[in-house]
Assembly symmetry: C2
Homo-oligomer: 225 residues x 2
Amino acid sequence: MDESSYQRISMTLEEMAEHDRVFGALAQRTREFIDASLHTVVDHAEIEEVTAMLAAMTSRLTKEADPGYLGVKIGPDGSGRNHGNAVVGLRNPFAPPLKVEKTKDGTAFAAFRLGAAYEGPPDLVHGGVSALILDQMLGEAAAAGGAPGMTGRLNLTYRRPTPLGELSAKAWIHEVDGHKTTVKGHILGPDGEPTVEAQGLFILPRWAREALAAAKAKKAGHAFE
Amino acid sequence: MDESSYQRISMTLEEMAEHDRVFGALAQRTREFIDASLHTVVDHAEIEEVTAMLAAMTSRLTKEADPGYLGVKIGPDGSGRNHGNAVVGLRNPFAPPLKVEKTKDGTAFAAFRLGAAYEGPPDLVHGGVSALILDQMLGEAAAAGGAPGMTGRLNLTYRRPTPLGELSAKAWIHEVDGHKTTVKGHILGPDGEPTVEAQGLFILPRWAREALAAAKAKKAGHAFE
């Protein structure tokens, strides 16, 4: 991964909206299918028919395919498009997806529902799924506060079991030290009390620091022209 | 969650094998469909047809459904069946699924492949997905060594980016202190070098400690009969 990973897509705003509507619906219907597959008790013959249909549909999708990953693209409006992201990705059926509300002082909030696909112990959210969500939330808060980065360290404390169902999560910047940002956050249970607490260290990669420094130097140079 | 969450299923070994074959295939085809949906570049009309078919298939599955979660059941052979588990669940399309090799002295190993659905930064495994996998691996090692428990604390150190593709993970018990077990582990990149390191504290819940103590007392009582 380097600067070239973040490519601008060649779509108009209208084309982008239509693309997102079509692929967003596919991912959403896939999420519903996954949930149904974990609750269904229809007979084996029915399951086998559905399985065969699914395989045929996969063949239709793979007829024209790009072997690369979705990554992060830049829209015509300058917006970041991380549609493959495992937590917030519009096109990723694994992602609930979280819709994260952010503020410029580095806070992030999301309300979401975790169903059968996120189970660990019986009826509870998998401890690792809580970690997955908090990693994303802490990273979102860091980026929102102007100090983006990749996870360097993540420390989780599990206070109480997290039940499957309606939940929320919060994160906020605790400290910024150059290219290192410390962020805190938690998952809140249906009663609004924290179930899992997190602290993370996010580090801006060197290539990104150099790109930012070059952009700043160029700007400073212009000031003297 | 309590002892009653772990129910014995009423199937013969043959019925269980057939059930697992049928539902395992459904989950596997679903994983392939998800992967295809993240790589496809077929046109919008094709995507919309597939989306409509998927919605119809969901309706077939939900005709007879159990609103409860899969949880952890006990098979007729005494084996644990956590088929809904987000990391190792046979029926969970979200799970790669990891096939974990364990030893009685508390080690766990798994080789696995993470595709497009596990992406975070471009071409890389989501930092939270690494946490998800390590949480499960550390818990498996604790349980394998006879000291099962729920995650109390999980500390992750990200040494290098983890590329999507073929990976492996290891975990081992570091220390057992009564009902608390400290476990260490890491994810290994394609070159066999650690990318993410983890240390976790796993705690056996009180209800499980009491159930185990009661079982031991009963056994001791029998010895005096």
